[in-house]
Amino acid sequence: MLIAVLSGFILAAFAPWLTRAFGDKAGWLLAILPASLFVYFASFIPAVSEQGAVVLEYSWIPGLDISLNMLVDGLSLLFALLISGIGTFIITYAGGYLRGHEYLPRFYGIMFSFMAAMLGLVLSNNLITLFVFWELTSITSFLLIGFNHEDKQARWCALQGLLVTVAGGLALLAGLVMIGITAGSFELSEVLAGGDVLRDNPLYTAIVLLVLAGCFTKSAQVPFHFWLPNAMAAPTPVSAFLHSATMVKAGVYLMARLNPGLGGTDLWLYLLGIVGALTMFTGSFMALRSTGIKAILAYTTIMALGTLTMLIGIGTEAAIIAAMTFLLAHALYKAALFMLAGAVDHETGTKNILKLGGLRGLMPITFLAACVAALSLAGLPPLFGFIAKELMFEATIGAPGIAFFVSLLALASAMMIAAMAAVFAIRPFTGELKETPKTPHEAPPSMLAGPVVLASLSLIFGLLGFIPAGAVVGSAVQAVYGSPLEVELYLWHGFNLPLLLSVLAIVGGVVLFLRWEQVLDTFSRMTFIDRFGPERGYEKSMDGLTWLAAWQTRTLQNGYLRTYLSVTVLTTVVLTLWAYFVRAGAPVHIGDLDFTFYELAVAGLVVVGAIVASVTSSRLGAVATLGMVGFGVALIYVLFSAPDLGITQIMVETLTVILLVLVLYRLPGFLKLSSPAARVRDAAIAGSLGVTMTLLILAVNGVTVVEPISDQLTAWSYPEAHGRNIVNVILVDFRALDTLGELFVVGLAGIGVYAMIRLRAEDKGQ
């Protein structure tokens, strides 16, 4: 199983090479993998039907509770079959659609990675592994959406899709981690078995909100739906795959997957039910406003995602059955429709439905398949879509608390979708042939195989509902509902409210279709939707981010060294003094005030010298004063028993002065550059550091050290280290490593100075 899941990644590495090697036939060849995977997954059907769920164990990072365990149950199997099944057709389709395209080889590479990621996502039994694959789908779909990357629009759309889904993904990660910690396990099979632990935990609300943030963004729920139509920038095979069975369904998958663990509460019901219903309605409405064939399909996808979310939220038996049925139905017709749309686009060169017409004669197979798939989309018998729609109405009617609201929105959506299905299936193909950029003719077999098969399946499943019911939908429902349910799918449920609603929907759809151009005209004048929609929100927040980033960076990183230094010094002062007063209780130990007048005088001269150096207006005067301060410091060392320090200080001071003199001779004199106010401010900052240091010394002055390590060093100095100058012995023996480092500092400074002076590259600045 693990190999099956990861095989996509492996093939991805070789796909570009294979594509180049096999040229036009590569699509067929490469499709063997998803096809075999389909067969492989199908082989699990009996076991799953029997046992409900199979967990296959593979370890990965046990220390972090991350495993590669695979959970094969009805839900994951349904998805796995869709992914591999539809994937098979997509791969062949892409071979035709992108024939000879410069990027076809890498396209296959990304596509297989994406497929593998999707499989991993739906099959993972581990929350974190699931997330790993979740993010991989985001990234790979980013690469797919931005496939035509030299087009600015495509890049923008890809980025948008990525940011929205990854933003949600990060929330999801937090939610999943919380689930894992709360439930005490990161294995789905265990988490879902103990749903009450989650629901009773105080973190439950947070978990739900975080997880749903991930699911809603991924599955394009209102108000995050805007990225999805933009993702149409991708080539059609990608759209078909992303929107029918995979990427966008990941959110739905996860909601369904976690339903046994998180569902069954009011929060879940209202959030999913209402957001889903609104999404459903928004999708339908926006579809009705659109003229691009891919845009229409994108909005109907949003509708479908909303529907699924709503159904999972409702969570009744009927709703779950409806959800899984709808899921399958949608995957079948939507993939077909996308591929057909691509075929039309590919052959005519336009996506605008208003510019298409009369293709029936030239593209008969396309037309036929489009009709079947569209009928399923519209929810007309005898297609599988009809069954799904019936079940949906049944579920909305039975929804606890929000039945009226969701039923109403469902009806409205159904009408609009029926209309759009008709628009899609009829307008491009009927009427008189219109002038298009390319001369249209029927698409090649590689591009028609998928739609034809999938459309046929819509028909077959509609007529023979027991096939899907028995094979996977039933198991999937069981997985989502949390316990086994009887699932039967037929076209005819008798005369009941759902049927009435269906009829209403179709009638309304027909009306809308007939007056579509008027409707379109009216709706497209409602531009406020574009101006105030959530996409504006995205744009505004991107602008805000840009502004904030610019403002913050220019403010903080403003280029003024003294700002940097002031901030650094003040941070030092505040943190140190705060701790000094609050934690240490402001200790001050003056100690004995024993000093001679000359010690005092030397100390005073050092201070006065430092102050004079810092205010003098003569550059070399400052250097000379510095020299004096240096001699003063040397005197202090000598006065307090440090002859070596005295000598070193004197030598270093002398050399420093020499260096300064050598260097400064080209530099101009000081100018009074700063204002008096600035000088006062700087004096305050500088003074605060001075006060801090004084206080620190006075505080530490009070600590008596019992036995410093230097006592032992002194004792060893002569007998063990053969030296009478203990300081020198420390330097060359006890702490030779310090001195070695010190040497390298001096040496490095030498090299650095040499390089700086001698290596004068062209000045590339300004």
């Binding site: 050598l662 100058n725 060359v732 090299i751 100075v753």
Partner: protein
């Protein structure tokens, strides 16, 4: 011509140079027992050559030094680092002092040792580094 044309300074520099050189060796060797050591000695010898540089010019100073100061710098670092290695052949950690006390006439007991070699490395590094800097600066000026 260089502007530093003081005959008095040149003469003094020539006179002081050997004295300072000798003094630096003295400071180096006795550092272990009295104030001094490689670092101070290195600075003194650098001062001596800096004086010479001030009195004459870069070319003459380089000529007098013989080796490129950067070589002395590297050599000093190498000596200092290598001085820490012999003890490992006696099963001791790096920088363990090895002592070969020799009664050198005129200096009493001269304690030839790895710390002394280390200190000689220090001396060379300081000398090399300071002269690298000073000469580079003086050259840049000229």
């Amino acid at each position: 011509m260089t502007s530093m044309g003081s005959l008095i300074l040149r003469t003094t520099a020539r006179f002081l140079l050997p004295l300072l050189l000798l003094f630096s060796v003295f400071i180096l060797l006795r550092g272990h027992d009295e104030p001094g050591g490689g670092f101070i000695a290195g600075l003194i010898v650098s001062t001596a050559f800096a004086l010479y540089l001030f009195a004459f010019d870069v070319a003459r100073t380089r000529e007098l030094m013989g080796a490129d100061p950067r070589f002395l710098l590297g050599l000093g670092l190498l000596i200092a680092t290598l001085s820490g290695i012999p003890p490992i052949f006696f099963g001791e950690p790096f920088f363990t002092g090895l002592w070969w006390p020799i009664d050198v006439p005129g200096f009493g007991e001269v304690k030839l040792s790895t710390p002394l070699i280390f200190d000689i490395g220090v001396y060379l590094v300081v000398f090399g580094a300071v002269m690298t800097i000073v000469l580079a600066l003086a050259e840049a000026e000229e």
